[in-house]
């Protein structure tokens, strides 16, 4: 019986034997791969999905044990509370402006600096580039106090004091971010300089030489020939710097606390803000107590609101995120 079965299978497989084994192996692998990929995707999306599902629950749903994921009394009140309490529209516009200013400044400065490192030989280039990497390694906490004092009473060699009688107060506004981004010292700028430099190094030298021969100057060659080809790398830098500035809490809390209202600072203090808001709303004399569950729900709703604009940008631009970096030659 067994032997017969074997014979039949052999006959059936005869001629296609190798092919069948190969296809089976591939089929098996693609199933395993599918399971792994779907699993990881689920893992990444799960917390955000739960955040969303919880954010539409009413207070009684939160305490109801029978409610795990799907709200029995879905409501948008939580969003209303959070939006009013964290003054979302104002914080949103400020954050948008701040992120746009800094990421454009960073893009311009890092492109120029990166090109300088990639294409010109000058004394001290190696040392300077090593310093670019060092600025990435040094924890910003090391220079946080001097920077804070620096911008508190901003002055260059006593010039402002001479003219205005007092140094400039730059804390609480856009100025610290713009100044630092314009000089390649902003958030993770070392990384962007590195990306741009790697990209320009990977471009053929003949391109520029041809332009020089045709009589174009250095600047003209840079913005007519090199810049248009560097768009993918620049887009990558722009997107990263926009996103990371949006959620940055280190520089925002250092330079802006008490000043300009941005989303990341608003999010850090959101549970306090909501307690105050609800106290005012109910007109009670003592601060309203938020239970841990309720407070957690508000915080998660607020963090959803902070990342929501970024998610929209990502959905539109994810092609550029993912595919452009492959072509930026970050690797070469």
């Amino acid at each position: 019986m067994n032997a017969m079965l074997e014979k039949i299978t052999n006959i059936k497989l005869f001629g296609h034997h190798r092919l069948t084994g190969y296809t089976l192996g591939r089929l098996g692998w693609s199933i395993v791969r599918g399971v792994i990929i779907i699993g990881i995707c689920f893992l990444i999306l799960y917390p955000t999905m739960v955040k969303f599902l919880v954010s539409v629950m009413s207070e009684q749903d939160l305490y109801d044990i029978s409610v795990k994921y799907i709200a029995k009394n879905p409501t948008l009140d939580n969003y209303k509370t959070v939006i009013t309490a964290m003054k979302y529209p104002e914080a949103f516009w400020n954050t948008l402006k701040l992120s746009l200013f800094t990421s454009i400044m960073q893009l311009v400065s890092c492109t120029i600096i990166g090109y300088g490192f990639a294409r010109f030989k000058f004394k001290g280039r190696g040392l300077l580039f090593a310093l670019v990497i060092i600025t990435l390694i040094v924890p910003p906490q090391t220079i946080m106090i001097p920077l804070y004092l620096h911008f508190k009473d901003f002055d260059i060699l006593g010039i402002f004091k001479l003219i205005l009688g007092k140094p400039l107060k730059l804390l609480g506004g856009y100025a610290p971010f713009v100044l630092m981004s314009a000089t390649g010292m902003g958030l993770k700028n070392g990384l962007y300089i590195y990306i741009i430099r790697q990209f320009f190094r990977g471009m053929p030298k003949e391109l520029e030489e041809a332009a020089y021969v045709d009589g174009a100057g250095l600047f003209r060659t840079f913005y007519k020939i090199m810049l248009p080809s560097a768009v993918p790398a620049m887009l990558t830098v722009f997107l990263f710097s926009f996103v990371w500035q949006w959620t940055d809490s280190f520089y925002s809390s250092l330079f802006l606390s008490g000043g300009l209202r941005v989303l990341s600072n608003a999010l850090s203090g959101v549970s306090h803000a909501i307690a105050l808001h609800l106290t005012n709303l109910r007109g009670s004399a003592t601060t309203v107590y938020l239970s841990p569950v309720l407070s957690s729900m508000y915080i998660n709703t607020a963090s959803l609101l902070v990342i929501l604009p970024l998610l929209l940008v990502y959905i539109v631009a994810q092609r550029y995120f993912v595919e452009s970096i492959e072509r930026t030659g970050i690797v070469g």
């Binding site: 792994i36 739960v50 010109f120 630092m180 999010l267 993912v322 030659g329 970050i330």
Partner: protein, 310 residues
Amino acid sequence: MAAKRKKRRMGLEEKKAMMGYVFVLPFIIGLLTFFLFPMIQSFIFSLNVIEVVEGGYTLRPNGINYYKTALLQYVSTANEGKSFMTLIGEGLAAMATQVLLVVIFSFFAANLLNQKFRGRSVARAIFFLPVILMSGVIIAVDSGDLLQSSMGLTQTDAQEGSFQAVALARVLLSTRLDTRFVDFIVSAVNRIYEIVSASGVQILVFLAGLQSISPSLFEASNIEGATGWENFWKITFPMVSPLILVNTVYTVIDTLTNSNSVVMTIIRDEAFRNAKYGLSSAMAWIYFVAIMLVVAIITGIISRLVFYQE
């Protein structure tokens, strides 16, 4: 005549070198004003007692006392009375596991995402989502959050969430493997979310590396009859090995300078909560030196093992 020609050529080269400085000038300005000057200032602060007075601050020399305090006496009340050095040590140990897991995972994920399958672009988009979802203030808010820990995604001491691998630990322990190894595997499984979320940029770098390998290498080796396994170890792995260095260093720095880490929080709190600017600066310098040492050691070890094409 000869002298004249020589002078002219020098002129062109000098001009190019000068233009180099012009292009890099913004960085030089920034480096001096927003980096080197603050670095020196922070070092001076660490050697002085700083008192904030009306319209500025005064410095009173304090020698290396703040360094002594940070190294020998300091205990963190917020962290069970552990010393500063213990906390740095714990941070480094946690970093070592984290870096190992992140680099392995991102390499594996990049290889997966480099294969051809249906829905690849969607999968890629989702894999890089943590770059947005888990950045800056969002991590700070999520860590220690009740909802997050109830999902078992962030580590809390008391809680065992739904993603905790208790059963796995039991099975592995019953196989009589070395307990340290079992701990490593179990912690890897427990921290899978943390690892996946910290791997976005690294996957991107590996993926870029995988795509820059010339297909002709694989064609040639396939003609010679190499299997996929051999291709992987003889071509793919050596070709992307320089990126293992890049990604390791990136992950080390990313983990250690993360402003939510315990050491970073202490440094910030000492300055802005307790107004001990000198002590905070001394701590920051100690931590900076520790990071530099770690990065130097890791670079030294890995760059010996890396294959370079040139």
